[in-house]
């Protein structure tokens, strides 16, 4: 297993994909944080000022938007093997295909954690001088800002695992990436409108992610607590991976 993990890590570090996606993740996280800070506390908008603990937490949690890139990295980590047929040498050297998938999940989790750390650190690096310049104290512990940053890290990391799951199930790279993005940004928000499915909404991937950071706590929708949100999101990733193993990976390798 150690050999497989090292092999998967090498696959990741010997192409440019990971670095490019990390830059994208950083840009998205920074954009979210900057937009949040800039729009908050301006006079006359009725928006609570930066000193508000909830505002501070929301700003910290907005780093989680970088999950967009971690989920895509996860998807590409697996689908690129089928696209370029490196699946052949991979599964020739390790014919026990489930072990390869487990190695990919673990390496994706590590990649996701690295993305999370970088994006969260970037967020803090933006917040500290900006708040400092405005003379606002950041409530790292008291207001729960640190916790929000950590929750953003967890969301980013878990979505990399979800990406592997989706990629295992849907081997076509373009279909997997587009399908996932359409689901997360179009379909799932639409689902919240339908009254009947509101009960299952908390258990959907996007809602679970929002539960981790607490982003949907004030939305009026039912939501899970952070821990259960995390477990549900991880569960989605593993569910996809198991489904993919059953329906795709066990079949003929292209």
């Amino acid at each position: 297993m150690i050999a497989l993990l090292r092999s998967e890590w090498r696959k990741m570090t010997t192409i440019k994909l990971g670095w490019g996606m990390l830059l994208g993740a950083m840009a998205l996280a920074a954009l979210g944080v900057v937009a949040q800070i800039a729009s908050n506390g301006s006079p006359g908008t009725g928006v609570p000022p930066l000193t508000n603990p909830d505002t501070q937490k929301a700003i910290a949690a907005s780093a989680s938007s970088a999950y967009l890139f971690s989920v895509v990295v996860g998807i590409i980590m697996i689908t690129t093997e089928f696209r370029h047929f490196t699946s052949r040498p991979t599964f020739l050297i390790e014919p026990r295909r489930g072990r390869v998938i487990v190695a990919k999940i673990l390496v994706a989790a590590l990649v996701g954690v690295i993305y999370g750390i970088v994006c969260v650190a970037l967020t803090a690096a933006i917040m500290i001088p900006w708040f400092g310049a405005k003379g606002v104290t950041i409530g790292w512990i008291d207001s729960g800002v640190l916790q929000s940053l950590l929750s953003a890290l967890v969301v980013i990391a878990l979505f990399a695992v979800v990406g592997i799951g989706v990629g295992v199930l849907v081997r076509n790279q373009i279909a997997a990436v587009i399908g996932t993005l359409v689901y997360l940004f179009v379909l799932e928000p639409l689902i919240t409108i339908i009254p009947v499915v509101k009960n299952v909404y908390p258990y959907l991937p996007g809602a679970a992610a929002a539960a981790i950071t607490g982003a949907n706590r004030s939305s009026g929708l039912a939501h899970l607590d952070a821990l259960h949100g995390g477990l549900v999101l991880l569960g989605w990733g593993l569910l996809f991976a198991v489904a993919g193993w059953m329906f795709t990976i066990r079949r003929d390798i292209p």
Partner: protein
């Protein structure tokens, strides 16, 4: 299904291999064996089922029925498949953005091999100069060499190569021939090399397995295939009398489109003497010009013309 051949280290055995895609039988009850210490050509026209067969033996595709074994076990049951079997499959399997050396190192570590092995095989296939370049810029010939390098990483005793000569220049083909011969003759490895062109492997292989439309057409020594092909073309106004006169020779007589017959299993001298002794009038008597390639084409064009394996 079990194989009736004993498990020999390095022997490849296909036993009743069948692969059905929807309505199409890509491989149909195919059985053959490939021995260690020999180079075996796996021949057939495009679409005959060669790649599918190799993929089933390698466990990448699941057989609808039948088994493929290496050293008596299925691919997945091999203790160290990456260090036992090396395979080159038709399309090249590289990430375009990864360098040749990194490509090999990815699989070195997966197979439990030291990284320096990557440089060794790059040197073997003559790609040392290109080691740090992305595969994106590689020519087809370079990709074939890198695919071969990947197959050789684990110093395997069994090699399965699917159309390895594709894209190689004549120099590269000569080099490949030498390499394959050395593997079989010096190292005693098992080498199975597929091709849709007999002449490509004619000078390299000891034995051939010929398939068409997923079925076995011929399995045996190349030399025997050659012997069976060199017929004698005879034209006579009285073909029935000719057949009677040739009966004692125990030959196979098949009509040709131009009215003459092809006599297989006798020399022109023997045919001429038999005709003279039987007082049969001949208008033409010559050695058949059928080359090995023609024989191959004839065999593969008509799957029902199954020839007995003589090995």
């Amino acid at each position: 299904m079990s194989t009736d051949k004993p498990a020999v280290e390095g022997r490849i055995v296909a036993s009743g291999l069948t692969k059905v895609f929807g309505q199409i039988k890509a491989v149909d009850d195919l059985s053959f064996s490939v021995e260690p210490g020999s180079v075996t050509g796996f021949l057939g026209p495009n679409g005959a089922g060669k790649t599918t067969t190799l993929r089933m033996i390698l466990g990448l595709a699941e057989a609808t029925s039948g088994t493929g074994t290496i050293s008596g076990v299925t691919y997945a049951q091999l203790p160290h498949p990456g260090r036992t079997v090396g395979a080159v499959l038709e399309a090249t399997s590289f990430h375009p953005g990864r360098s040749a050396r990194n490509h090999l190192r990815v699989f070195c570590v997966a197979a439990g091999l030291p990284d320096k092995r990557a440089d060794e095989v790059l040197d073997w296939v003559g790609l040392t100069q290109a080691a740090t370049y992305s595969v994106r810029g590689f020519s087809l010939g370079m990709r074939q060499r890198l695919a071969l390098a990947t197959a050789l990483l684990g110093n395997p005793r069994v090699l399965l190569l699917d159309e390895p000569a594709n894209g190689l220049d004549p120099e590269g083909i000569a080099w490949l021939r030498g390499l394959l011969r050395r593997f079989a003759d010096v190292d005693g490895r098992t080498v199975l090399v597929s091709s849709h062109v007999l002449s490509e492997v004619e000078q390299t292989v000891d034995r051939v397995v010929i398939i068409a439309k997923g079925r076995l057409i011929y399995e045996g020594r190349l030399a025997d295939l050659e012997g069976s092909s060199s017929g004698v073309v005879v034209r006579s106004p009285t073909p029935d009398e000719l057949s009677a006169a040739l009966a004692p020779l125990n030959v196979k007589i098949t009509p040709r489109p131009d009215g003459s017959v092809a006599v297989i299993g006798a020399t022109p001298e023997a045919v001429g003497r038999a005709a003279w002794e039987g007082r049969v009038e001949l208008h033409e008597l010559r050695a058949g010009s059928s080359s090995l390639e023609e024989t191959f084409l004839r065999l593969t064009a008509d799957p029902s013309a199954t020839s007995e394996a003589s090995a």
